[in-house]
């Protein structure tokens, strides 16, 4: 019996051949190594999942948005009817629209969580100032998505939320009047308003978000992750790991949780339209979407009454706050990142979050006094 073994030469499979073909031309393996083998100082953490989760939510919003566009008609006389058609007649249309609606809410929540995490971790400090600034611009885009998308169903809620929002914008010095006129396209919200909001919502903002998100990721990969704000050098070194697989797993779990949460909300509270938009509010008390409610309630305070007060509350204070956030990396130059050793930052964050919470809940309670 011949016991000599023949040297086995394994032939590459068809998939391996295709991958090799693409790799030779694109540099797939180098790209994969660059994407996945990035060291994460101190190891993977749940606190780092928000960026990936935001990207996932945006992709899902794009998918559901495209599917909704197959049925939605962006004209003042058909927008409401086509939205009702999506809800009541299109198979699973109620779920798609409700998912898209709650997805926008999840996006705002995750943006707040992501910004809070970066702020508390001190990850905006040198050399990550540009990441922070681009992140702020992305925050503005997310808010813009919420504002423009809210009008599209063309019901009373949509119409009046937009009217309130544009009126607030009108109070901005110099640019306010132009911006309000540009967005409305007439004396009252109508076809021009709907067309402009639709184009901004489905064309301008997605393009801006994709560009800025790409820049945000590029800058992040250039500077590298900031890592934990405390822990000895030995501990951080011992726990340092690559982006794949641990952080990827955490990101996937985070995405699953967010996806399931949005689905649950779509089931719990499927979207329901009010009456079709008319310039007469009737019994409806105009108010903006929940993430602008705190500002709306703030403007009800007596201190913000009158023309100057409204300007102060609607434009000056939020504007100053955003300017402060933009200037933060250049004001706070201390290398200390531990939030427990930055009392002003910690107290400031608690005060801002508590104020947003209190004014939002107060606006909800305030509804009882309007009826």
């Amino acid at each position: 019996m011949d016991t000599t073994t023949q040297p086995t030469t394994t032939q590459p499979s068809a998939i391996e051949k295709v991958l090799a073909f693409v790799d030779e031309r694109v540099g797939l393996k180098t790209l994969q190594a660059k994407m996945l083998n990035e060291p994460v100082p101190g190891g993977s953490r749940w606190a780092y999942v928000f960026g990936s989760v935001l990207l996932f939510i945006f992709i899902m919003q794009a998918i559901t948005g495209i599917l909704l566009m197959f049925y939605y008609v962006p004209t003042a006389d058909h927008a409401y009817a086509s939205t009702q058609y999506i809800i009541h007649s299109v198979d699973y249309g109620w779920f798609l629209l409700s998912y898209h609606f709650w997805g926008s809410t999840a996006m705002v929540v995750c943006v707040f969580a992501h910004m809070s995490q970066v702020f508390l971790w001190g990850a905006y400090k040198k050399p990550r100032e540009l990441i922070w600034l681009v992140g702020l611009a992305l925050f503005g885009i997310v808010m813009g998505f919420g504002f423009t998308g809210y009008l599209l169903p063309w019901d009373q809620r949509a119409y009046w939320a937009t009217t309130v929002g544009v009126e607030i914008m009108d109070k901005t010095p110099l640019l306010g009047d132009f911006m309000a006129r540009f967005l409305k396209g007439g004396a009252t919200p109508g076809q021009m308003t709907l067309s402009r909001f639709f184009v901004i919502h489905v064309m301008v903002l997605p393009a801006a978000l994709m560009g800025l998100a790409g820049l945000h990721l590029f800058l992040f990969r250039k500077a590298g992750p900031a890592g934990p704000f405390r822990g000895s050098v030995e501990e951080i070194k011992a726990k340092t790991d690559y982006f794949f697989p641990r952080q990827i797993w955490k990101d996937i779990v985070g995405m699953v949780v967010v996806f399931l949460s949005i689905c649950s909300l779509a089931f719990w509270e499927p979207i329901v339209l009010l009456e079709e938009a008319t310039p007469d509010p009737g019994d409806y008390h105009p108010e903006p979407e929940w993430y602008f409610l705190f500002l709306f309630q703030l403007l009800r305070l007596k201190v913000f009454a009158g023309e100057f007060g409204q300007f102060l509350g609607a434009i000056a204070l939020p504007g100053a706050f955003m300017a402060l956030l933009a200037a933060l990396p250049f004001i706070d130059r201390s290398p200390e990142r531990n939030i427990f050793k930055r009392p002003i930052a910690l107290i400031g964050w608690i005060v801002v979050m508590a104020s947003i919470l209190i004014f939002t809940v107060a606006a909800i309670i305030n509804r009882e006094f309007l009826e």
Partner: protein, 340 residues
Amino acid sequence: MTGRETMSSFKLGLSILWPACWTALPIKMAFAMLFMAMGTIHLETKLGITFLMLLMTPVSVFAFFVISLGVGFHFGEGLGLPVLFLLSIPIDIWALGLAARTVFLERLRLEPPASLGVGLWVRFAVAGAIYLPFLWVVQGGATDLARSIIKSILDMDMLKHMPVAERIGLEFTAWGSVALLVLLALTYVGLSILGKLVEGRASAAQPAGDTYQGLISRWDMIRVPADQSLMLTAFTAAGAVLSVLFWAVLPVSTPHPHECCKPPTDAAAPHFDPQKALSKGEKAFKDAELKIAAIEQRAAEEEKDKQKGGKDKAGVKDGSPKSDGKPAQSAAGKPAGSGK
């Protein structure tokens, strides 16, 4: 910190319960989603509190039933809700075991004892069943008391004329702060109790003999599956099965439209049968043709009658009238000889 950590009971309880809750949540939520799509869970307004109870099932699994039955709190409707809480038991045992083993190794530098997950789950679930209903009652009472006190203060004459927006904000901040403080204190006590229960298990555990780097490696390996490919395959397969199940049971139309805005209940259009429609059309044409023919015939007869009538009139002048078999009527249309 690379030395053995001395942890307070509160910190120990928190460092195990917090990751265990979040580790188990995605799996529980997948089942929750499926049950909702099947229509076996209906949550009307208590979503937030039900979510918290689901998140904290390692301690709330029995407390959920105690609060539902004992206090009479209505979380929602449907068989799916209790089934979900019962399903979460094995998931929590796994998650608690995983979280506790990492804490024992990395933070306490102790060898995790055998069946740590089951042991801790029994302790946590029983402690939760006693403590959470207590927390529920105390928290509810404290919140109600704070609200009534704040309301009575703000109803005083000197504060009565405060504008509505200011009053709402002040009232909520005042009672909300009291309620939050009570909740934080009760949570601190609860987590300290859990920490004491963990200490009971830790006191019998052997110190881990590895170097720090060795311990971190072991700790790290606990956090990820030993066989990544197998895990990825299982994860994908489970996701695919759940997705198919989800789409299979997902209602095509809104499961619970609001009372205020129900869709218009138009009767469904009947099925269109071209053969039937054609024969119906043909029949209509034939009927119409027959009707037209009858009308034309009648018109022709009337014409004949008119012509005959002309001749008859001429005949009357000449002789007796020609009867058509009908009784002769007066000009007013009344029978002749009625006397009226």
